[in-house]
Symmetry: C2
Subunit: 682 residues, 2 copies
């Protein structure tokens, strides 16, 4: 039952410590020291084969000898001793065993086996594992500082509404310490380690029901339990508890560009992006925004527009936010006439700029407060950014009170405050009032961009009917007439001109081996080309299996697109639409979503692709049939209803003039069993 | 003479204050309060028509009555009283007059005229002006806190090696306060305001000769005095004093993409980028990196490679730097075998990763220090990043001492330290030792990217001979045969097939008005097309001046490029090469440099354009003649030797197969007097 699991994790009545050192200077002495330092009120039972006392507490030779209710065991013994310690815990059915020790699944196959065996035994005993390789967890109220992380040397636990679930152990310390320094408090912090059993998704699920947790922050290296995380994120959204994620891996995606097929183009990080967005999780890209952005989303629903109003007493301090906001695609809006008049009546010089700069005079509460109230009350913007200058450093009360008052009067509108000087006291006042406050302009712009990209968790659209067969033809997307040629001599029967290409499961990039010829005008040219192709390919790749050739009728249109579908190991089924030719790869110019998508979502995807600008009428170019393209994307995404399909691609998909539709020229569908369909007549 | 100017600015023997308030709570009381609070030892002479005393100091009815050497006057009176105050200063030939009052050039034409008149009078009197709209300046030793900025409420001026020259007044306070909080000290901070007289370039020049200044930080909104800044930056480079700039305006550049011609594509910010790079100035893109990056470059020369070695006690704390480093194109390198063996001998588990993760065990100085020393001594990297975990927060001495020792032993290699927790004391220890230390991973990655992009100030290549005429033909870049048609009936004599387009100085985007037809195969098709074009254009733009039509022979090739040249008002002559078609605009895919460029620089430019990947043999595509393209770029850039040319463009420039050269199809050159040359035979 989850509430007993919650108690065992975050409010254990008793804790057994395996491997606790009696030398207070050692790392393994920390959990015991930190538990007591921060006022843990329950039983601590150091388990020690030889000592009867550890750091002033009675030690026990084994777990069976320890008295009272032990809800959690924390294991720091060397890896080879971990199984025996766990066996004691399983025997006593300790609800949660947290393993700090590393050297398991993260080190390779041998470690993975030991880890798997621990999980199997734990399940049999009804015991849950946290870790291995977990640095522990912290609960601020009641205080349970059960961790080896040195950040717990701090004097007082910063109590507050943010929960942290982290795949990096050391960073829970960095977040705790950065939060504490500026008045941001936490409810729980958990290091999940290898997630052998308890994983991010289940922990988020527990935290949704935690009254002390108002937002959940995730530090992610990968997605190990995506379905459970998706469900938990939806519950969190419904409970009004925003989930904010910082995920590593943005740059490795770049490497994937070196390969063509959809999977590689999409890249793991773009897939993670699509997944997190579909879960209603806000993704930040700067580290400190992880603790700063929560208050921006707290109490909010995903915004409709992306219009930001800005006010400041320090022109430069606002410009340093406006600049990265602009590169993030956020729109800065100037006050409408009536609002501008209100500002002028307060003595503010309103110029033709989206920025309301009060200058030094605006440090007076009688100006700052009313202007901020007017902005918070106005419909012309979806969020307000207020920048504060030097007064925040030496007169935090005076500088911040007008903001707090304006906030109290108008609690609904999203509000972000940037403090230009080093001003931890001002940041703390804002944090205590639940107002999003930022100490770098980049994090402020990043959090706003994440806020504006925020959408409600996506209902996966129901596919009314799965494609009747696992084939391109069954999708209903027009395909150019194509014909399988078993030999180069076989007569081409599809309309000329045609393209001919090699058909081989072993050759990914056909043009690289001379495997394609275009614009063949008659049977004679076609036969000669087919012969040349076979010769070149056999010379270049003597080992490749060759299934024959495929001839397809050439198609004229206004532009080209690429459609892709694949089942990602982490994110699940994905659909992609990108600019044609090499643009999707060269410029990473594609849109990616969890599949299936609705027609409306498909339209949004098409609108995101910059390379379709000419098809949208850019520079008066003739418009392409982007509506037909969107229909094709939605139809393609229905492959998600066919579990037998592993991946598929149409490349190129020719986009004709408005109203004239689209037509696929080259397509490939791969089944999970490895079978391949080119969309060509057999 | 500059040394007397330096003294008057930064070490004035006496200061006259106009408009100093006797009410200590008022902003205009601040300069007097701050001067005394921070120990200014010279004469302060408040000038006041009615009071004989201001805040305990003798006041004078006018400047003539004030005794002693007055080296600087600081003016805070209302705008209408500024000219009279200045006149007194001019009459006494006060060397520097700093005007805090705003409401001059920044407000429009009327204010600009008053400002210009002040400058004229000042020049006649041999007096230099700082401002108007300057918040003042700060010198830390001897202490001269002559500013209205509230950041000077701080207890002690942070003395140190960094000078700040800022076009934003309030941000000198933000930088001062952020630096002070973590032990980064300053020599001088100057707010330049409107730069009516003293501008950024001249101030940098003065600071190069300041023994207390070891690096110069610029906060820029625009470039007002680029030539002087370029000269000063070169002197700074030669003196080993890095110049670091944060410049606003990155996002507005995006808007410029809505227009085609080179000037707009290039955008002001990309031009500024090219300018700053050519000056040897490091440009950072995060605000805090401005004060953090200086120590990374200090004592260094521009690096040859961009290889970074990373070590850490906190895996997550290193990953948050590695990720943005990767997106910035910086290469992470794993230790070579011998170095890996050294690490293993110290008990470090070296795995197949560029990251050396010492884990918690590595917090011991006996491990951290030797590993860092080994990295600093190794040739396999151009810079080292060392991340420090929680120990930095509570045991700064223990955590930082091994870094200081390793640095002392190996002072040459560039070193960046990231401190994962909130740890101002550790940051201060590092700053005091002149080691670059970062409190956000993003600033760390940003500073390293700026460091690796750093080049020595560029010698502007000599143009051996200017193009003989201000024309495309004189550049020696092959041009497709082209012919000016005065009427649609005029016979086309250039080889078919041809393209025909309208020739009008009033029509920027010819295709938008039906002004272009392509692929005309014979004189009959050409004549009919010419007629249609004229009809369409006259219908679409009845007011446009039409000079006739231009017919040019169509050219086949492997790809297209665009060449652009223009004289930027701020940065000077610029040359651009971009991907052809609409790619340069859609994806901002172009390289930009100050013109002229050498052939070697032109090759670098061509290599930067992603859209040329197919021409580089991507996916086994046939290679294009990129060497000929580079020669064309260099030739085009020689327009910089023709002051009569305002801008020029070749679009498209067809790139043929390797060895087969390039050929321009459509070109345009505009003289300063407005005359236009299409490169077509007359």
């Amino acid at each position: 039952m989850s509430s007993s699991l919650f108690r065992a994790l975050f409010a254990p009545r008793g804790i057994a410590l395996y491997g606790a050192s009696g030398d207070a200077a050692k790392n393994t002495a920390r959990p015991q020291r930190y538990l007591r330092k921060h006022g843990y009120a329950g039983t601590i039972a150091p388990i020690n084969r030889t000592r009867r006392e550890v750091l002033g507490e009675t030690a026990y030779p084994n777990l069976a000898a320890a008295p009272g209710e032990i809800d959690q065991a924390f294991i720091m013994v060397p890896p080879e001793d971990v199984p025996e310690a766990c066996d004691e815990c399983f025997a006593r059915r300790v609800p949660v065993v947290t393993i700090f020790t590393d050297g398991f699944g993260e080190t390779g196959e041998a470690g993975r086996k030991v880890e798997d065996a621990l999980v199997t035994k734990a399940r049999a005993a009804g015991v849950r594992l946290l870790g291995p390789n977990s640095i522990g967890l912290v609960s601020t109220s009641p205080a349970t500082a059960l961790t080896v992380n040195a950040s717990l040397e701090l004097e007082r636990l910063p109590v507050g509404p943010l929960a942290v679930v982290s795949q990096s152990g050391s960073l829970i310390g960095a977040l705790l310490s950065r939060g504490a320094a500026r008045g941001i408090g936490f409810s729980r912090l958990v290091s999940v380690g290898n997630e052998a059993d308890l994983a991010v998704g289940e922990l988020v699920d527990l935290l949704v029901d935690d009254a002390q947790t108002k937002a959940v922050l995730l530090f992610l290296e990968t997605l190990r339990d995506p379905e459970r995380l998706a469900r938990a994120a939806r519950r969190a959204f419904e409970a009004g508890k925003p989930v904010i994620a910082y995920k590593l891996g943005r740059s490795s995606a770049g490497e994937a560009l070196a390969r063509t097929h959809t999977g590689a183009i999409a890249g793991d990080d773009r897939a993670a992006d699509a997944f997190l967005a579909a879960c209603g999780i806000l993704r930040v890209r700067t580290f400190e925004a992880l603790i700063e952005a929560a208050f921006l989303a707290r109490g909010q629903r995903p915004p409709r527009g992306k219009r930001v109003a800005m006010m400041t007493t320090t022109g430069g301090g606002a410009a340093v936010i406006a600049d990265p906001l602009g590169t993030n695609g956020v729109e800065l809006v100037a006050p409408p006439p009536q609002l501008a008049a209100q500002c002028r009546a307060l003595g503010v010089r309103v110029v033709d700029s989206p920025l309301i700069d009060l200058t030094l005079a605006g440090t007076r509460a009688s100006v700052y407060g009313p202007v901020l109230e007017a902005l918070l009350a106005s419909d012309h913007c979806d969020a307000v950014v207020a920048a504060v200058g030097s007064s925040a450093q030496f007169h935090p009360g005076l500088a911040i009170e007008p903001i707090l008052a304006a906030r109290r009067a108008h609690p609904a509108k999203a509000l972000a405050v940037f403090v230009a000087p080093e001003a931890p006291a001002s940041l703390a006042l804002l944090a205590q009032a639940g107002i999003a406050a930022f100490r770098t302009p980049e994090a402020c712009a990043d959090a706003l961009a994440a806020f504006f990209a925020w959408r409600a968790p996506r209902e996966r659209p129901r596919v009314d009917s799965a494609p009747a067969a696992p084939s391109i033809a069954a999708l209903g997307i027009p395909q150019a007439p194509a014909q399988r040629l078993r030999t180069p001599e076989e007569a081409v029967t599809v309309p000329f001109p045609v393209a001919i290409k090699i058909d081989s499961p072993d050759i990914e990039h056909k043009t690289e081996v001379g495997g394609v010829e275009l614009g063949l005008r008659d049977p004679h040219e076609a036969a000669a080309a087919a012969k040349r192709i076979l010769e070149r390919v056999r010379a270049a790749r003597p080992q490749a299996r060759i299934d024959g050739l495929v001839a397809s009728s050439m198609q004229a249109g206004l532009g080209e697109a690429i459609l892709g579908y694949r089942v990602d190991a982490q994110a699940g089924p994905l659909v992609l639409v990108g600019a044609g030719g090499t643009l999707a790869e060269l410029y990473r110019d594609f849109a990616l979503r969890l599949a299936p998508v609705t027609l409306e979502e498909a339209r949004e995807m098409v609108a995101e692709v910059r390379g379709f600008a000419p098809l949208r009428g850019y520079r008066n170019a003739p418009r392409g049939d982007l509506e037909a393209l969107a229909r094709a994307v939605a139809a393609f995404s229905r492959l998600a209803a066919r579990p037998d399909v592993a991946e598929a691609e149409i490349n190129p998909l020719i986009v004709k003039a408005e109203g004239a539709g689209v037509i696929g020229v080259d397509s490939l569908l791969v089944l999970r069993d490895g079978a391949r369909d080119h969309g060509a007549a057999a």
